[in-house]
Amino acid sequence: MREPTYFILAALREEPRHGYAIIKRVAELSGERVALATGTLYQALDRLGREGLVEVVRDEVVNGRARRHYALTPDGEDALLAEAARMAEAARVVLRARPA
Protein backbone atom coordinates (compact mmCIF):
# COMPACT_ATOMS: atom_id res chain seq x y z
CA MET A 1 0.00 0.00 0.00
CA ARG A 2 1.29 3.46 -0.89
CA GLU A 3 1.93 5.91 1.94
CA PRO A 4 -0.71 8.49 0.87
CA THR A 5 -3.30 5.70 0.62
CA TYR A 6 -2.42 4.51 4.12
CA PHE A 7 -2.90 7.97 5.59
CA ILE A 8 -6.15 8.54 3.66
CA LEU A 9 -7.57 5.32 5.11
CA ALA A 10 -6.27 6.30 8.56
CA ALA A 11 -7.96 9.72 8.27
CA LEU A 12 -11.25 8.07 7.34
CA ARG A 13 -11.03 5.54 10.15
CA GLU A 14 -11.83 8.23 12.69
CA GLU A 15 -14.94 9.56 10.92
CA PRO A 16 -16.33 10.23 7.42
CA ARG A 17 -14.68 13.28 5.85
CA HIS A 18 -14.97 15.40 2.71
CA GLY A 19 -12.07 16.00 0.31
CA TYR A 20 -10.45 19.03 1.92
CA ALA A 21 -10.92 17.60 5.44
CA ILE A 22 -9.07 14.45 4.27
CA ILE A 23 -6.16 16.54 2.97
CA LYS A 24 -5.91 18.44 6.26
CA ARG A 25 -6.16 15.33 8.43
CA VAL A 26 -3.59 13.42 6.35
CA ALA A 27 -1.15 16.32 6.82
CA GLU A 28 -1.75 16.26 10.60
CA LEU A 29 -1.45 12.49 10.94
CA SER A 30 1.78 12.40 8.94
CA GLY A 31 3.35 15.33 10.79
CA GLU A 32 2.98 17.52 7.67
CA ARG A 33 5.12 15.05 5.70
CA VAL A 34 2.36 13.96 3.29
CA ALA A 35 0.86 16.99 1.51
CA LEU A 36 -1.77 15.56 -0.81
CA ALA A 37 -2.46 17.45 -4.03
CA THR A 38 -6.12 17.49 -5.03
CA GLY A 39 -5.51 15.38 -8.16
CA THR A 40 -3.60 12.79 -6.14
CA LEU A 41 -6.37 12.60 -3.55
CA TYR A 42 -9.07 11.98 -6.15
CA GLN A 43 -6.98 9.40 -8.04
CA ALA A 44 -6.56 7.56 -4.72
CA LEU A 45 -10.27 7.88 -3.84
CA ASP A 46 -11.15 6.51 -7.29
CA ARG A 47 -8.93 3.48 -6.83
CA LEU A 48 -10.11 2.92 -3.24
CA GLY A 49 -13.74 3.21 -4.33
CA ARG A 50 -13.22 0.68 -7.12
CA GLU A 51 -11.55 -1.72 -4.65
CA GLY A 52 -14.48 -1.28 -2.24
CA LEU A 53 -12.29 0.16 0.53
CA VAL A 54 -14.06 3.53 0.78
CA GLU A 55 -17.58 4.67 -0.01
CA VAL A 56 -19.53 7.90 -0.32
CA VAL A 57 -21.87 8.25 2.64
CA ARG A 58 -23.25 11.78 2.23
CA ASP A 59 -23.77 14.42 -0.48
CA GLU A 60 -24.28 18.10 0.23
CA VAL A 61 -23.87 21.51 -1.37
CA VAL A 62 -21.64 24.04 0.43
CA ASN A 63 -21.10 27.58 -0.93
CA GLY A 64 -22.67 26.48 -4.20
CA ARG A 65 -20.23 23.57 -4.62
CA ALA A 66 -21.00 19.84 -4.44
CA ARG A 67 -19.33 18.08 -1.55
CA ARG A 68 -19.27 14.36 -0.79
CA HIS A 69 -18.28 12.69 2.46
CA TYR A 70 -16.21 9.51 2.24
CA ALA A 71 -16.08 6.71 4.81
CA LEU A 72 -14.09 3.55 5.34
CA THR A 73 -15.86 0.28 4.49
CA PRO A 74 -15.31 -2.89 6.57
CA ASP A 75 -12.91 -4.10 3.83
CA GLY A 76 -11.09 -0.76 4.05
CA GLU A 77 -10.76 -1.15 7.83
CA ASP A 78 -9.34 -4.68 7.36
CA ALA A 79 -6.86 -3.49 4.71
CA LEU A 80 -5.72 -0.60 6.93
CA LEU A 81 -5.24 -2.83 10.00
CA ALA A 82 -3.38 -5.45 7.94
CA GLU A 83 -1.03 -2.78 6.58
CA ALA A 84 -0.50 -1.30 10.06
CA ALA A 85 0.31 -4.76 11.46
CA ARG A 86 2.73 -5.41 8.59
CA MET A 87 4.54 -2.12 9.18
CA ALA A 88 4.61 -2.67 12.98
CA GLU A 89 6.14 -6.10 12.46
CA ALA A 90 8.73 -4.66 10.08
CA ALA A 91 9.54 -1.87 12.57
CA ARG A 92 9.84 -4.37 15.43
CA VAL A 93 12.59 -6.24 13.58
CA VAL A 94 14.72 -3.12 13.46
CA LEU A 95 13.88 -1.61 16.85
CA ARG A 96 14.33 -4.91 18.74
CA ALA A 97 17.81 -5.34 17.31
CA ARG A 98 18.89 -1.85 18.39
CA PRO A 99 21.60 -1.94 21.09
CA ALA A 100 20.55 -0.48 24.48
Partner: protein, 254 residues
Protein backbone atom coordinates in the same frame (compact mmCIF):
# COMPACT_ATOMS: atom_id res chain seq x y z
CA UNK B 1 -7.92 32.75 -4.41
CA UNK B 2 -7.68 34.70 -7.64
CA UNK B 3 -10.32 34.36 -10.34
CA UNK B 4 -7.58 33.62 -12.88
CA UNK B 5 -6.31 30.68 -10.91
CA UNK B 6 -9.82 29.25 -10.49
CA UNK B 7 -10.43 29.69 -14.24
CA UNK B 8 -7.25 27.69 -14.86
CA UNK B 9 -8.41 24.95 -12.47
CA UNK B 10 -11.83 25.00 -14.10
CA UNK B 11 -10.16 24.19 -17.42
CA UNK B 12 -7.95 21.48 -15.90
CA UNK B 13 -10.80 19.61 -14.20
CA UNK B 14 -12.49 19.41 -17.59
CA UNK B 15 -9.80 16.87 -18.46
CA UNK B 16 -11.73 14.49 -16.20
CA UNK B 17 -14.66 12.63 -17.78
CA UNK B 18 -18.17 13.89 -17.08
CA UNK B 19 -18.91 11.29 -14.38
CA UNK B 20 -16.12 12.60 -12.13
CA UNK B 21 -16.81 14.95 -9.20
CA UNK B 22 -15.35 17.98 -10.99
CA UNK B 23 -17.35 20.52 -9.00
CA UNK B 24 -16.33 18.90 -5.73
CA UNK B 25 -12.67 19.01 -6.81
CA UNK B 26 -12.99 22.71 -7.59
CA UNK B 27 -14.37 23.21 -4.09
CA UNK B 28 -11.32 21.46 -2.60
CA UNK B 29 -8.94 23.51 -4.78
CA UNK B 30 -10.71 26.69 -3.68
CA UNK B 31 -10.51 25.78 0.01
CA UNK B 32 -6.90 24.62 -0.01
CA UNK B 33 -5.71 27.72 -1.92
CA UNK B 34 -2.35 26.14 -2.66
CA UNK B 35 -0.04 27.39 -5.42
CA UNK B 36 -0.87 26.46 -9.00
CA UNK B 37 2.39 24.53 -9.53
CA UNK B 38 1.64 22.11 -6.66
CA UNK B 39 -1.85 21.27 -7.93
CA UNK B 40 -1.69 21.45 -11.74
CA UNK B 41 0.59 18.43 -12.48
CA UNK B 42 -1.52 15.94 -10.52
CA UNK B 43 -4.73 17.37 -12.01
CA UNK B 44 -3.38 16.93 -15.56
CA UNK B 45 -2.08 13.39 -14.94
CA UNK B 46 -5.19 12.36 -12.99
CA UNK B 47 -7.54 13.83 -15.60
CA UNK B 48 -5.82 12.15 -18.54
CA UNK B 49 -5.65 8.82 -16.70
CA UNK B 50 -9.31 9.01 -15.78
CA UNK B 51 -10.32 9.93 -19.33
CA UNK B 52 -8.25 7.25 -21.05
CA UNK B 53 -9.18 4.52 -18.57
CA UNK B 54 -5.52 4.04 -17.66
CA UNK B 55 -6.50 3.41 -14.06
CA UNK B 56 -8.15 0.10 -14.89
CA UNK B 57 -7.20 -3.20 -13.22
CA UNK B 58 -4.15 -4.98 -14.72
CA UNK B 59 -6.09 -7.59 -16.71
CA UNK B 60 -8.14 -4.91 -18.46
CA UNK B 61 -5.00 -2.92 -19.25
CA UNK B 62 -3.52 -6.00 -20.92
CA UNK B 63 -6.70 -6.53 -22.89
CA UNK B 64 -6.65 -2.92 -24.09
CA UNK B 65 -2.97 -3.27 -25.03
CA UNK B 66 -3.75 -6.42 -27.03
CA UNK B 67 -6.46 -4.58 -28.98
CA UNK B 68 -4.18 -1.56 -29.50
CA UNK B 69 -1.45 -3.92 -30.79
CA UNK B 70 -3.98 -5.43 -33.21
CA UNK B 71 -4.85 -1.91 -34.42
CA UNK B 72 -1.17 -1.12 -34.91
CA UNK B 73 -0.60 -4.35 -36.87
CA UNK B 74 -3.69 -3.89 -39.04
CA UNK B 75 -2.59 -0.35 -39.89
CA UNK B 76 1.01 -1.37 -40.58
CA UNK B 77 0.05 -4.40 -42.68
CA UNK B 78 -2.60 -2.60 -44.68
CA UNK B 79 -0.25 0.28 -45.52
CA UNK B 80 2.84 -1.90 -46.10
CA UNK B 81 2.68 -1.58 -49.92
CA UNK B 82 2.24 2.22 -49.85
CA UNK B 83 5.98 3.04 -50.02
CA UNK B 84 6.19 0.90 -53.17
CA UNK B 85 3.11 2.55 -54.63
CA UNK B 86 4.91 5.86 -54.34
CA UNK B 87 7.44 4.61 -56.86
CA UNK B 88 4.78 3.01 -59.00
CA UNK B 89 6.16 -0.51 -58.51
CA UNK B 90 3.01 -2.14 -57.12
CA UNK B 91 0.34 -3.42 -59.43
CA UNK B 92 -3.07 -2.87 -57.92
CA UNK B 93 -5.31 -5.91 -58.06
CA UNK B 94 -8.90 -6.42 -56.97
CA UNK B 95 -7.76 -8.76 -54.23
CA UNK B 96 -5.29 -6.19 -52.94
CA UNK B 97 -8.00 -3.54 -52.77
CA UNK B 98 -10.30 -6.03 -51.04
CA UNK B 99 -7.49 -6.73 -48.52
CA UNK B 100 -7.14 -3.04 -47.74
CA UNK B 101 -10.89 -2.60 -47.35
CA UNK B 102 -11.08 -5.55 -44.94
CA UNK B 103 -8.05 -4.32 -42.97
CA UNK B 104 -9.42 -0.79 -42.82
CA UNK B 105 -12.81 -1.96 -41.60
CA UNK B 106 -11.13 -4.28 -39.08
CA UNK B 107 -9.11 -1.33 -37.75
CA UNK B 108 -12.30 0.75 -37.45
CA UNK B 109 -13.98 -2.13 -35.59
CA UNK B 110 -11.04 -2.25 -33.15
CA UNK B 111 -11.34 1.51 -32.57
CA UNK B 112 -15.02 1.06 -31.68
CA UNK B 113 -14.40 -2.05 -29.55
CA UNK B 114 -16.32 -4.50 -31.80
CA UNK B 115 -14.09 -7.54 -31.29
CA UNK B 116 -15.84 -10.25 -33.30
CA UNK B 117 -16.40 -8.15 -36.47
CA UNK B 118 -12.77 -7.00 -36.14
CA UNK B 119 -11.60 -10.60 -35.86
CA UNK B 120 -13.67 -11.72 -38.88
CA UNK B 121 -12.38 -8.81 -41.00
CA UNK B 122 -8.74 -9.30 -39.92
CA UNK B 123 -8.99 -12.99 -40.80
CA UNK B 124 -10.49 -12.08 -44.20
CA UNK B 125 -7.61 -9.65 -44.80
CA UNK B 126 -5.17 -12.40 -43.85
CA UNK B 127 -6.69 -14.88 -46.29
CA UNK B 128 -6.88 -12.33 -49.12
CA UNK B 129 -3.34 -11.10 -48.50
CA UNK B 130 -1.89 -14.61 -48.35
CA UNK B 131 -3.71 -15.48 -51.58
CA UNK B 132 -2.72 -12.42 -53.55
CA UNK B 133 0.29 -10.52 -52.31
CA UNK B 134 2.33 -13.24 -50.61
CA UNK B 135 3.82 -10.47 -48.50
CA UNK B 136 5.37 -12.24 -45.49
CA UNK B 137 5.43 -9.22 -43.11
CA UNK B 138 1.82 -8.31 -43.96
CA UNK B 139 0.67 -11.91 -43.46
CA UNK B 140 2.55 -12.00 -40.14
CA UNK B 141 0.90 -8.74 -39.05
CA UNK B 142 -2.62 -9.87 -39.94
CA UNK B 143 -2.02 -13.25 -38.27
CA UNK B 144 -0.92 -11.79 -34.95
CA UNK B 145 -3.67 -9.16 -35.12
CA UNK B 146 -6.24 -11.93 -35.58
CA UNK B 147 -4.78 -13.88 -32.64
CA UNK B 148 -4.86 -10.80 -30.39
CA UNK B 149 -8.47 -10.16 -31.39
CA UNK B 150 -9.37 -13.71 -30.42
CA UNK B 151 -8.65 -12.96 -26.75
CA UNK B 152 -12.02 -12.81 -25.00
CA UNK B 153 -12.98 -10.02 -22.63
CA UNK B 154 -15.08 -6.94 -22.12
CA UNK B 155 -15.20 -4.49 -25.07
CA UNK B 156 -12.06 -2.34 -25.11
CA UNK B 157 -12.39 0.47 -27.67
CA UNK B 158 -9.02 1.96 -28.65
CA UNK B 159 -9.70 5.68 -29.05
CA UNK B 160 -6.10 6.79 -29.19
CA UNK B 161 -4.37 7.94 -32.40
CA UNK B 162 -0.92 6.72 -31.29
CA UNK B 163 -1.34 3.03 -32.29
CA UNK B 164 -2.51 4.15 -35.76
CA UNK B 165 0.39 6.60 -36.12
CA UNK B 166 2.87 3.96 -34.94
CA UNK B 167 1.46 1.48 -37.46
CA UNK B 168 1.80 4.05 -40.24
CA UNK B 169 5.34 4.92 -39.16
CA UNK B 170 6.22 1.24 -39.10
CA UNK B 171 5.11 0.69 -42.68
CA UNK B 172 6.40 4.02 -44.03
CA UNK B 173 9.74 3.56 -42.21
CA UNK B 174 12.48 5.09 -44.40
CA UNK B 175 10.05 7.48 -46.11
CA UNK B 176 9.53 9.38 -42.85
CA UNK B 177 11.89 12.25 -42.09
CA UNK B 178 14.04 11.75 -38.98
CA UNK B 179 12.42 14.57 -37.03
CA UNK B 180 8.99 12.99 -37.48
CA UNK B 181 10.22 9.59 -36.28
CA UNK B 182 11.83 11.27 -33.24
CA UNK B 183 8.68 13.28 -32.54
CA UNK B 184 6.59 10.09 -32.60
CA UNK B 185 9.03 8.32 -30.31
CA UNK B 186 8.94 11.29 -27.91
CA UNK B 187 5.12 11.27 -28.01
CA UNK B 188 5.03 7.56 -27.10
CA UNK B 189 7.52 8.05 -24.25
CA UNK B 190 5.62 11.09 -22.93
CA UNK B 191 2.32 9.24 -23.19
CA UNK B 192 3.86 6.34 -21.23
CA UNK B 193 4.14 8.71 -18.26
CA UNK B 194 0.33 8.83 -18.31
CA UNK B 195 -0.59 5.46 -19.78
CA UNK B 196 1.80 2.55 -20.36
CA UNK B 197 -0.64 0.55 -22.51
CA UNK B 198 0.56 1.96 -25.86
CA UNK B 199 4.15 0.94 -25.01
CA UNK B 200 2.87 -2.52 -24.08
CA UNK B 201 0.94 -2.64 -27.36
CA UNK B 202 4.08 -1.69 -29.33
CA UNK B 203 5.96 -4.54 -27.62
CA UNK B 204 3.20 -7.04 -28.40
CA UNK B 205 2.95 -5.83 -32.02
CA UNK B 206 6.70 -6.16 -32.56
CA UNK B 207 6.40 -9.87 -31.74
CA UNK B 208 4.83 -10.19 -35.20
CA UNK B 209 8.41 -10.00 -36.42
CA UNK B 210 9.02 -13.44 -34.93
CA UNK B 211 6.66 -14.93 -37.51
CA UNK B 212 8.89 -13.68 -40.32
CA UNK B 213 12.10 -14.76 -38.65
CA UNK B 214 12.51 -18.07 -40.51
CA UNK B 215 12.72 -16.14 -43.79
CA UNK B 216 15.30 -13.79 -42.34
CA UNK B 217 17.39 -16.55 -40.76
CA UNK B 218 17.76 -18.17 -44.18
CA UNK B 219 19.42 -15.00 -45.45
CA UNK B 220 21.96 -14.75 -42.61
CA UNK B 221 25.64 -15.28 -43.22
CA UNK B 222 27.23 -15.21 -39.73
CA UNK B 223 26.51 -16.04 -36.05
CA UNK B 224 26.83 -12.33 -35.22
CA UNK B 225 24.05 -11.52 -37.66
CA UNK B 226 21.93 -14.20 -36.00
CA UNK B 227 22.62 -12.64 -32.60
CA UNK B 228 21.66 -9.17 -33.82
CA UNK B 229 18.50 -10.56 -35.41
CA UNK B 230 17.58 -12.41 -32.18
CA UNK B 231 18.23 -9.25 -30.15
CA UNK B 232 16.02 -7.19 -32.42
CA UNK B 233 13.22 -9.69 -33.03
CA UNK B 234 13.00 -11.03 -29.47
CA UNK B 235 14.92 -8.67 -27.19
CA UNK B 236 13.33 -5.38 -28.28
CA UNK B 237 9.68 -6.49 -27.92
CA UNK B 238 10.49 -8.31 -24.67
CA UNK B 239 12.13 -5.16 -23.27
CA UNK B 240 9.13 -2.97 -24.15
CA UNK B 241 6.71 -5.50 -22.65
CA UNK B 242 8.84 -5.80 -19.50
CA UNK B 243 9.01 -2.01 -18.98
CA UNK B 244 5.28 -1.58 -19.59
CA UNK B 245 4.40 -4.51 -17.31
CA UNK B 246 6.51 -3.10 -14.48
CA UNK B 247 4.81 0.30 -14.85
CA UNK B 248 1.40 -1.34 -15.04
CA UNK B 249 1.91 -3.31 -11.80
CA UNK B 250 3.34 -0.26 -10.03
CA UNK B 251 0.35 1.86 -11.04
CA UNK B 252 -2.13 -0.81 -10.00
CA UNK B 253 -0.96 -0.57 -6.38
CA UNK B 254 -3.55 1.08 -4.15
Amino acid sequence: MTTNRMTGYDLLVRLYPAGHPRDEMLGVLEESGRPWHTEAPSLIVGGLRARTGAGQPVTRRWLYAARAAALMLLTASATAPLPDLRYGTVLLSTLMIATWVCAGLAAAAVVFGARLPAFALATSALVLCATDQSSVPAVAGYTLAAVLLLLPGTPSPVRNPLPILLGLAWSADYLLPGWLQNALLAAVLLWTLIDERVLLAAGLALFAGLITVTDEVAALDSPLSALILAGWRLGAPALLVAIATTLSHHRAKI
